[in-house]
Amino acid sequence: MNRRYFFLGALSLVAGCSRRIGTRTAPVSIIRAASYSVDLAGIMRRILLEHRVAVSGKNVLLKPNLVEFDQHAPINTDPVFVAAAAEAFRSLGAKSVRIAEGPGHRRTTLDMAEAAGFFAALPKFEDNFTDLNLDDVTRVRLSRRFSKLSEIYLPNTALACDLLVTLPKMKTHHWAGATLSMKNLFGLVPGNVYGWPKNPLHWAGIDECVADLHYLFPKQFCLVDGIDAMEGNGPILGTRKHVGVVVGGAHPPTVDATCCRIMQIDPRKIRYLRLVADRSSLSLADTRQLGERIDSVAVRFALHPDLEDLHLG
C-alpha cells in the first residue's frame, strides 16, 4: 500500500502538479466548485488525470451516500455530483460505470433515490443501480482486524468491481465526528444479512468496522461532495453549510483528514482515522494538497455540543 502511494506521489511529480509532491505522501486535490451547475465532470476528469487513476477498461462502481431524503437538508451526495462522476469515468474509458448504495435506515432505496433527484439527474438510473441491501453476498474473512468481527458478508457487486469510487457528502456525524470517504463504506454492508441499521457492526465497534472495511477495498478513489455540506447534528438532522469544494484522492484516510481540516476538525481526534493511521507508516500528515490550499477554503463546521472538543485549535 505504501509503495502504491509512493508511486502516486512520484507520478504526480512527473506530471508537473501545481505543488511539489514529495515521496511517501498521498496527494489530495482540493478544487473549488461554487455550485452544482459548474462543470463538475470536467473538474473530476482533471482530478482523475492528475492522480493518474487507471480507468480505461475498468469496471467502476460509484458509491454515493444516500441515507434519507429531506428536500431542506443536504443529507445525500447530490445527484448532479454523482452524474458528473459517471460522466467523468465514462469519458476516461471505463468499461462500465455502475452506481450502488445500501442505505442504513430505510428499505425504500429506489423511491428515496427518485425523490432525491437521482432518476432525473442520471439517465436509466434504475438500470445502472444496484441496491446493495438486496444483492447476493459472499462471506469474506478479515485479514487486518480492528473490530471484533472475524468475517463479514459483503455484496457481490461491490466485491466484483475493479475500482470502488466513494462519493461521500462532507458532513459532521453526531457519533463519529465526521462522515466522509471511509465512513461511506458502511453503505456497502448488506441489510439483507445485518438489518436496517447494520447493527452488528455497531456492536463490533463502528470506528473499528470502518477501518476493517477500508482494508477490504484496497482499490478505491474518493471524490467528496463538499459543495453544499452539512454541519451540526449530522449525518441527518444537521444544517446546510456551503463550502464550495470537491476533494479527491486515492488514499481515503488522507482525503478524509484533508476534509476534516477544511471543516476545522482535528483528524487525529476522529477515531477511525487514528486507528488506520496508527497501523500505517503513512500518517495523516503525509498529505500534499493539489489545487487549493486548505486554509483558503477552510470554514469552521458547527459540531454537536457534545463533540466541540473535536475542533482544531
Partner: protein, 256 residues
C-alpha cells in the same frame, strides 16, 4: 388486466427454478420467498408455485430452529418470523427461536442475534408468535407490544427504531408506522390516536409502494376505513410486489 392479476403474473414470472424468489434477480432469499408465498396464498393463486416454494423455505431452517436468510449466510436471523408466517404447518417449536431473540431489558427483538432491538423485527416477532396461537407466547408478545408502544418518535409514529439520544427530532417513516400498527392490532385505540393522525397524512404521500402497503395493512388491522388511492408508485422488487398484493388482500378482508 387488473392490478392484482398483473402483480401475480409478475410474481410467478420471477420465481427461481429452485422454487424460491430473489429480491430482484439472482439467488433465492428467505424474505422475498416468504412474502411471495403469503401473497399468492392470500390471492388463492397458483398452487404449483406454492408447492415449489414451501419445500424451498422448509429447507432453509437451521438446526437451531431459526431460518437463514440465504444459502450464502449460515446464521439464523429475523427472517425466521416471516418463515413462520408463510409456512402454515410449522409447529410451536418454530416460535422458540423468535421468542429467544427478545432482549429482556427492552422487550424488543433484533435483526441479527445478539444485537439491539428495532421496530421491524419486533413487529414481525409479534405477528409470527401470534400466528402460532399458543399460550406460551403470550408473555413475549406482550413484551414486544410494550416495546413498540414505548419506542415511538415524537410525532407518534415509528421509524427504524433508533435511540432518541442526539436524534430527538427524528421523524417516523410510513412503512414502519404501518407495520407497527399491524403488529399492534387489538391495542386500545386511545394509545394510538397520534399514530392514526400521522398515518392519515402519510397515506396522502406514503413515499413508496412499500409505505402505502404497510400503512393499508396496519390501518385495516386497526379497524380503520382505508381508501385505496391508485398508487403512483411502482413496485421496485419482489418485496414490493408481494406487499402490494398483501395490502390488496387486506383491503378485501383477507389478512396475514
Amino acid at each position: 388486466m387488473a392490478e392484482g392479476d398483473e402483480l401475480q403474473r409478475q410474481l410467478l414470472a420471477s420465481q427461481n427454478p429452485d422454487g424460491g424468489w430473489p429480491f430482484v434477480k439472482g439467488s433465492s432469499w428467505t424474505e422475498p420467498t416468504a412474502l411471495a408465498l403469503l401473497a399468492l396464498r392470500l390471492h388463492d393463486c397458483s398452487p404449483g408455485a406454492g408447492r415449489a416454494a414451501v419445500p424451498w423455505l422448509e429447507r432453509r431452517r437451521n438446526a437451531d430452529g431459526g431460518w437463514r436468510p440465504n444459502d450464502a449466510v449460515s446464521i439464523s436471523t429475523w427472517v425466521t418470523n416471516l418463515a413462520i408466517l408463510a409456512l402454515p404447518q410449522v409447529g410451536e417449536s418454530a416460535g422458540d427461536w423468535s421468542a429467544a431473540q427478545i432482549y429482556a431489558k427492552t422487550g424488543g427483538s433484533c435483526w441479527f442475534p445478539g444485537t439491539a432491538s428495532w421496530v421491524t423485527p419486533t413487529a414481525t416477532t409479534i405477528l409470527a408468535l401470534s400466528r402460532l396461537n399458543s399460550r406460551q407466547f403470550a408473555a413475549p408478545i406482550e413484551q414486544c407490544r410494550r416495546f413498540l408502544l414505548s419506542w415511538r418518535c415524537h410525532d407518534g409514529g415509528w421509524n427504524h427504531g433508533g435511540s432518541s439520544f442526539r436524534s430527538e427530532n427524528a421523524v417516523s417513516y410510513p412503512e414502519t408506522t404501518g407495520l407497527a400498527l399491524l403488529a399492534l392490532a387489538g391495542t386500545s385505540s386511545e394509545q394510538l390516536v397520534t399514530a392514526f393522525r400521522l398515518s392519515d397524512g402519510f397515506l396522502k404521500n406514503p413515499g413508496s409502494l412499500e409505505g402505502l402497503s404497510w400503512l393499508q395493512m396496519g390501518l385495516v388491522a386497526q379497524g380503520r376505513n382505508v381508501a385505496d388511492p391508485q398508487p403512483t408508485f411502482r413496485p421496485r422488487n419482489i418485496r414490493d410486489i408481494s406487499l402490494r398484493l398483501l395490502a390488496l388482500a387486506a383491503l378485501e378482508g383477507r389478512t396475514l
